[in-house]
């Protein structure tokens, strides 16, 4: 009797529980699971979205991975970008976070300033940078070509190539050699996004650890290597995973600034996917690209997760072992 009553309450709770999560369940079915299955199917089809899809097996995947130089180029661009922008961004944002974690006057202002670029619309930011990179009238080349350099003695200190760079600044987005470096430079402007996550991590480090180390006579470098780095390794891990995913999600900036040019030098993966889908209407091919992207991200994330046991320090884990 009692048991039946309990299960009645439990059943009521279960029904209410399902009602609560119903919005997500419906959304998941209609906007995630269903489309995913459909996407697998059309990635194996020739489909221009108007006529009926024609099944072609793995031809799209084959075409992309073996015969499409632009696909390979888009992978190259994205990976090159990630290889340079990611470590520089991780280190840069950590450095800024360390600076901003100190207890000196005016810190809130500095924090605000560094975080601003992360909240702005990508399209407006991209437009401003397109103007900054303008070869003749952009501020970057004015700066590079300015008379400051010889004045502070750089004409002796710089190698010949660098002097050449100052004398004749690069054409940035118009030059296949400099277009991707321009994107990397621009990404560094946004270090504030990662910085704020590091800052949260840094503030979670108990001060007793530093106090104890000071009593033992540790210097700042030792404190950084032995306390700060291990303690924020989970944050570095989080930023690394997000950074890898983020590199594969570059779209707006390349769409606005270069449309993939010059000479495909900035044909980012997502830009090419967009072009295939919404400019050439090769939906099957684009869907195949999306799945290849999914697999790449999955492999990267798994590798990072696998490696994390060797370099990410989890406090709870150690406590558990005791």
């Amino acid at each position: 009797m009692g048991k039946a009553k309990m299960s009645k309450i439990a059943r009521k709770e279960a029904i209410e529980g399902y009602l609560c999560i119903a919005p997500w369940l419906i959304g998941f079915t209609c906007f995630t699971l269903g489309p995913m299955l459909f996407s697998i199917y059309i990635s194996m089809c020739d489909w221009d979205i108007i006529n009926a899809p024609k099944f072609v097996g793995f031809a799209n995947y084959q075409q992309a991975l073996l015969h499409d130089f632009r696909f390979i180029q888009s992978l190259k661009v994205t990976i090159t970008y990630a290889i340079f922008a990611l470590p520089m961004g991780l280190a840069g944002s950590l450095l800024v976070a360390l600076l901003l974690n100190q207890n000196v006057k005016g810190m809130t202002w500095f924090r605000t300033i560094f975080y601003i670029p992360a909240v702005l619309p990508g399209i407006a930011v991209a437009m401003v940078w397109r103007w900054i990179f303008n070869p003749e009238n952009g501020i970057l080349n004015v700066f590079l070509g300015s008379k400051i350099w010889p004045m502070i003695g750089f004409h002796n200190g710089l190698s010949i190539e660098k002097v050449a760079l100052v004398n004749q600044p690069p054409a940035w987005l118009a030059d296949p050699q400099w277009a991707l470096p321009a994107f990397i430079l621009m990404s560094l402007w946004g270090v504030g996004g990662g910085m704020i996550i590091y800052l949260a991590g840094l503030q979670g480090i108990p001060t007793q650890l530093y106090e104890a180390a000071e009593i033992d006579g540790a210097n700042p470098v030792q404190k950084f290597i032995k306390i700060t780095l291990p303690m924020i390794s989970p944050t570095i891990f989080f930023n690394l995973v997000m950074g890898v995913i983020g590199s594969f999600q570059v779209f707006t900036s390349s769409f606005v600034m270069t449309q993939g040019g010059p000479a495909y030098a900035t044909l980012f993966y997502l830009l090419y996917l967009y072009q295939k889908a919404f400019q050439y209407f090769q939906m099957g091919y684009a869907a195949a690209m999306a799945w290849i992207l999914f697999i790449i991200i999955l492999i990267c994330t798994l590798l990072i997760f696998k490696s994390s046991s060797t370099w990410v320090y989890y406090e709870a884990e150690v406590k558990g072992r005791k």
Binding site: W24, V96, V119
Partner: protein, 356 residues
């Protein structure tokens, strides 16, 4: 002896601390400088006249030629060298483009004198003063149909925000507080969809929306928000709800509150900071969204600001003064929000980053 050593140590420490502070400030100030220069460049360009934009080398401040109006004619002030002297002269502008020479009148102090000269145009140098061209703003706004696009952006952003807050808060409640079979598995499924690149489902969803006639409407942008569109927000809120003591729920139940009552009277008021964070991040995501409107909207009157900015760039590729004015205006609402609600931006990161 010992005290001397200790004092020495303290003094040494305070000097080294001072040096450290100095280095910190130097780095922070130069860093902030690098962050802010693009903004300065944007705003300063947005206030220049078209002719100044393409001056090489570019100038830091917006300037205009000094002008004066006499007898309904507009005069521009120039300088020209005559022998060893530098003369200040005024000529009627705009000048006749066909002739190489022009008549100018010599300035006497701040007024135009009677003495007239005929000179070659190339001998004249404009006298300029720092003066912003505010008219760039109304012009840029008119070109991009600013008010219409602002309205569209506000509608989409607001509806999405409401949708995401409503759906995320109640779904998160289900996962945090209710017991039902399959809950934990479903939650893992939910978490794994955070990792799913949105491009995987992009094309099928596009097909679904176009085939039910929603192309070129706001529905494809707003409706998903009501169905757990912000999966990450669900996760964030669920984590936050878990930190609210369950005893509070039980107390409410004893007072006769049902499930819904517990949700609205206990959980929601307690979760205000987290909800504020969700609201802000949702606002930001939709205000800044570009790909969604790009794919689904084609009618120029339905454009969002981001889309309008893009098409404006297509039509006025080299009118940098207008483009920068438009970019400034599109950034302004976000900057304002950011400065007003800074606390919640940072807090949101703490909630999602540290507990997640």
């Amino acid at each position: 002896m010992a005290t001397v050593v200790r004092e020495e140590k303290i003094r040494k420490k305070s000097t080294s601390k001072r040096i450290a502070n100095f280095i910190t400030y130097t780095l922070l100030i130069s860093g902030s400088f690098l962050i802010l220069i693009p903004f300065y460049w944007m705003v300063s360009s947005s206030l220049k006249e078209a002719s100044q934009i393409f001056k090489s080398p570019p100038e830091w401040l917006p300037t205009q030629q000094v002008k004066m109006k006499i007898d309904g004619k507009e005069y521009g002030v120039f300088t020209m060298s005559q022998g060893e002297d530098v003369l200040k002269v005024a000529g009627v502008i705009p000048m006749d483009p066909a002739s190489e020479t022009t008549a100018v009148r010599v300035m006497e102090g701040e007024t135009i004198g009677a003495k007239e000269l005929t000179v070659t145009k190339t001998a004249l140098t404009e006298v300029r003063k720092v003066s912003p061209v505010w008219d760039n703003y109304p012009e840029a706004l008119k070109f991009m149909n600013f008010l219409g696009c602002l309205k569209n952006t506000c509608i989409i952003t607001f509806v999405c925000m409401v949708g995401q807050i409503l759906s995320a808060s109640i779904v998160a409640f289900g996962f945090a507080r209710m017991r039902f079979p399959g809950r934990d598995i479903l939650f893992i499924v939910l978490l794994s969809t955070i990792m799913l690149p949105p491009q995987v489902t992009l094309i099928p969803i596009f097909k679904i929306f176009t085939s039910i006639g929603w192309y070129d409407t706001f529905y494809p942008l707003t409706v998903p928000a009501f169905f757990g569109g912000g999966v990450f927000f669900i996760f964030l809120l669920r984590q936050y709800y878990m930190t609210i003591p369950i005893e509070m729920d039980e107390a409410a139940k004893i007072d006769g509150a049902g499930t819904f009552g517990t949700f609205t009277k206990v959980i929601l008021p307690q979760a205000k900071p987290a909800l504020a964070t969700v609201a802000i991040f949702s606002f930001m995501a939709h205000w800044n969204d570009f790909l969604g409107p790009l794919i689904y909207l084609s009618d120029p009157t339905k454009r969002t600001l981001a889309l309008a900015l893009w098409s404006f760039q297509g039509e006025h590729a080299t009118d940098w003064h207008l483009l920068m004015a438009a970019a400034t205006v599109v950034m302004l609402p976000l900057l304002t929000l950011f400065f007003c609600a800074q606390k919640y931006f940072i807090q949101g990161v703490v909630i999602s980053g540290v507990k997640g």
